[in-house]
Symmetry: D2
Amino acid sequence: MIKVGIAGGTGYTGVELLRLLSVHPQVTLQVVTSRTDAGTPVCQIYPSLRGFVDLPFTHPDQALLEKCDLVFFATPNGIAMQQARSLLDAGVKVIDLAADFRLTDIATWEKWYGMTHACPDLVTEAVYGLPEVNRAQIESARLVANPGCYPTAVQLGFIPLLEAGVIDTDSLIADAKSGVSGAGRKGEIGNLFAEAGDNFKAYGVAGHRHLPEIRQGLQRATGGKEIGLTFVPHLTPMIRGIHATLYGRLKRDIDLQALFEERYAKEPFVDVMPSGSQPDTRSVRGSNFCRLAVHQPQGSDTVVVLSVIDNLVKGAAGQALQNMNIMFGVAENTALNNIALLP
Amino acid sequence: MIKVGIAGGTGYTGVELLRLLSVHPQVTLQVVTSRTDAGTPVCQIYPSLRGFVDLPFTHPDQALLEKCDLVFFATPNGIAMQQARSLLDAGVKVIDLAADFRLTDIATWEKWYGMTHACPDLVTEAVYGLPEVNRAQIESARLVANPGCYPTAVQLGFIPLLEAGVIDTDSLIADAKSGVSGAGRKGEIGNLFAEAGDNFKAYGVAGHRHLPEIRQGLQRATGGKEIGLTFVPHLTPMIRGIHATLYGRLKRDIDLQALFEERYAKEPFVDVMPSGSQPDTRSVRGSNFCRLAVHQPQGSDTVVVLSVIDNLVKGAAGQALQNMNIMFGVAENTALNNIALLP
Amino acid sequence: MIKVGIAGGTGYTGVELLRLLSVHPQVTLQVVTSRTDAGTPVCQIYPSLRGFVDLPFTHPDQALLEKCDLVFFATPNGIAMQQARSLLDAGVKVIDLAADFRLTDIATWEKWYGMTHACPDLVTEAVYGLPEVNRAQIESARLVANPGCYPTAVQLGFIPLLEAGVIDTDSLIADAKSGVSGAGRKGEIGNLFAEAGDNFKAYGVAGHRHLPEIRQGLQRATGGKEIGLTFVPHLTPMIRGIHATLYGRLKRDIDLQALFEERYAKEPFVDVMPSGSQPDTRSVRGSNFCRLAVHQPQGSDTVVVLSVIDNLVKGAAGQALQNMNIMFGVAENTALNNIALLP
Amino acid sequence: MIKVGIAGGTGYTGVELLRLLSVHPQVTLQVVTSRTDAGTPVCQIYPSLRGFVDLPFTHPDQALLEKCDLVFFATPNGIAMQQARSLLDAGVKVIDLAADFRLTDIATWEKWYGMTHACPDLVTEAVYGLPEVNRAQIESARLVANPGCYPTAVQLGFIPLLEAGVIDTDSLIADAKSGVSGAGRKGEIGNLFAEAGDNFKAYGVAGHRHLPEIRQGLQRATGGKEIGLTFVPHLTPMIRGIHATLYGRLKRDIDLQALFEERYAKEPFVDVMPSGSQPDTRSVRGSNFCRLAVHQPQGSDTVVVLSVIDNLVKGAAGQALQNMNIMFGVAENTALNNIALLP
């Protein structure tokens, strides 16, 4: 049994980890921390967990995270980097669902996240937890940087094209739409039902923290070429789901459908839809799948990729659990084989 | 292994049965019928099932339902009663998710459903599939009438009070609110997003088909007393979920919390919340639970019960599967132990 | 021209006042205060007002409210009572959209609102601003207590029955459902899109501040009888709108439709729908109407009234403007004659 | 007074015309036709119009449309072209809100709309009713082709760039998102609340009827150059609103903000937002405005334009009324000066 701790269990990625982990046959949930809700039963905050999670939240200072085999950090940015070293030193593996270990360039990280990084050397060690790219390294990793939600959807959509070298790399466009849960469980006015409901808007057009992460991932896929990427995130009035609409310019003719199907033939959680498909976000709601469709509208040289994920599952907690399964040699789809809730 | 067929698999209760059954370890799905989509792969209509259900829809005329051990009817009212007898004669058990076998009084049924009943004698045999009331009869049943969604939520909330004889039976009020999926997957203007979205309304105030079903169930709970019930259903802009707010007049003082906790102490899918709770419908979204809370506001003699279910799970497909598990001696929560999707 | 000031213009009732007032032909908007947004142009916070409102928010300490003819308080509870006297002394009329002057019984007010009242004598002077009941007093009022949203919907629905003395007064039930904007523009987790979306729940079952206000209004309608009222508010996933479903027990036979039509025959903003109707909340979205329908389901002795309003218009800003029109001798529907936005 | 008729009044553009026209001081509404609802009072189908519209629907065969000064066609594609000539011959002006007269190339029209055109010569006469481009011609037009919703949002966003010749014309991208009312009031399963709610998807990626209309309009703006355009529409779970995110490649440096502000300086219904803005669709909900913001993210050579309209107002009925005002010499904003409903 894998002894698991969750640091920061009151947010949406926290509760989603709890939903998935509590039915994982090889996991015992040891401790869930929360600074604000210490002492309160987890299922009082999240009644959906009644009968499944009996633990109370533990104050971070009293949580014996070093007794775990693995700790998930579902905390805000800047927390995991404070605690990762001592946990690693104690032999505990770490998966950070926040951004602390995602960017290999420290200066870039510090610019976008507005903090001094606490442990640049661990950034070097950390493995970027996108199994479709880094499965082998994840297997032996002590420290995994779980990808962001937008970066997961965008990278999985562009990677086949970039690895094959069939599109221009200087004019990529990622027009992404996210459900409101992506903003987290924080009392911000802009995310109120009366503000975000029946409304659609772009945000972060001038620059979003996921931009450098996406750029880094796409660059890797090209073997290091410069990437010209315009990334425009939007807020859409739904709870879960990301839909990325990706645009690139083809440099040559290619069977796009075959390219995608071959790239992901062995991937348990990437579903290349039949030609002509237009995936719904709800087709992955609550599940760990990324569904992709590739189009070349009107026979022009513009390729359009549609990529959908559940931002809280493949975009966060599910992918983290997938990484855990890989790190501990458990079948990769254990506790991840649930079907999307539709309707 | 239980060989299962589904008659009428394209509606919401059909796809929900598929979601639940396709991960049931003792079930093999033999056939799913559809008149309109015969020949089409199930997962083309419902991409959420890609990788889980490989069957195509079969035309009802070609479906060898009599080779199954059990057939679920997820068809419109009036279909199951045409086919039940021949299936039963062939040794197949039947669970009807529609209303054909719910009302014991044939004249009442014919009045509310506007049809002549095809097999009144089978109505006599059929067991009303509310496990919290009829578990023993369900165990040995050949034919189960799966309860309606509103009737499930309302009966589970009133039953403890009626069985204990602590409320007046002549002035019960059930103010119920349903998500739009309760109306089914039919192209009706009133259920369009642009009509039902950002809107709330009552409907069927003059009389709703679930009224006689609820009344029959409540009457049983009192040992046959006349029931005076006002039932007002409402449409609320959400996809899944029923919230029933139930009002009754107390005849004497009683520890209401204890009454409810004792009544449902052994029920795997009824969760009596702690005193003072106000359950969210989302706390049961996608799960088979009914969560209940009982209140006596301002110390008056009016008792208020809050009862929430997912109309497609405990209100339809989940309860049907629960009945199947009981009928076949399988652990009652098999394939039903999933946690609500929250947020 | 009526010189108007708004105290507390950043909340939802504030912006709604601005929407309505900025096209009122007899109003000049003098000042809009905000503690948090002082100095910021109003239309920067609310781009919908671009081209219609040029004012910036003014800090309350610098706002010369005493130069106005009328000040609307769209502030939290407890603010208007601090400032009303000096404004009245300066000859300024006051309409409070909060609760400071709604309850005539000071002890009751202090219990439910958890504050000491600053000016009990003004409570005596204040007129409860429900035009359908108090039009004559409003005409000559200096200080108007604008009714709450639930109290408006519930009172308008029960009043014809209570004034006519045709229902029991000891067992009234008001099952009310509100859109999320009713909770105001505050960063509270429970009102996030990801919490309140696709969800339905009751709240305040044990006791809600609008209960004593409703009870007081219903009592007046009976000429002072004790009122036994159970009031259960619910949160429904829509932005605007209240739907109150009201239940009472008839003491004698009466033509309910005629009773309602006669009671409101001369009311410009109460629409008694034809017999059998079931009003949508969207039929009043953005408008000042209350639409009512009265039912006697299955011919029993329970009367059911359906009452819908837009909580921000007839339930707040629109009713306040209606009161202003009455107080200043302007045609009552001036700037209130807009049609609901449907769909 | 302008005597106005509406052909096809039961759809969403029909009811929106009624909402706007019924408070227009120079309009008398003569007749509203409906084949399916002939004889029914308009306000029975649309209770929001109770007290504002007293007419019943008239059967098209009995509607004396030729007695009107102006007829709006809010009918499906292919109807207006059957009736326009006789109306024009009778001296009646015509505004078609459908697509019959939008495309000047008949072959293209017949290909995309799958019909033979009934009156190609009238297509030549018809004026494309985008006032920001064709105001002078609209003034003297007898027959106006009211633009589509997507084409309005996309053209208004691209036109300043194309007229100024500052972007490549061979790689334009329009990623557009629409509320569900854009699909009309038809009982289609895909537009049910339970299907379109809490969901996001692309549609028509291979080709959408608005593509040739947009291309034609953009081509005009360049003086006739070939346009390479990729247009991907998406369905977003809201009722009203279109958000177009437009991408182009800059050929040279230019003050984009000034370019847009100058282009639309005199336009009453185009609002160029301050630099850095990201307009909400709700900021135009129910109003005739198009709000635009122009960005150059990260200083790259990609320009991003955000364009929002209400699809039923500036994208349909409001623009039609704007055209009517221009055609009849009425102040252009008459009955169009309403403020968006926010929240």
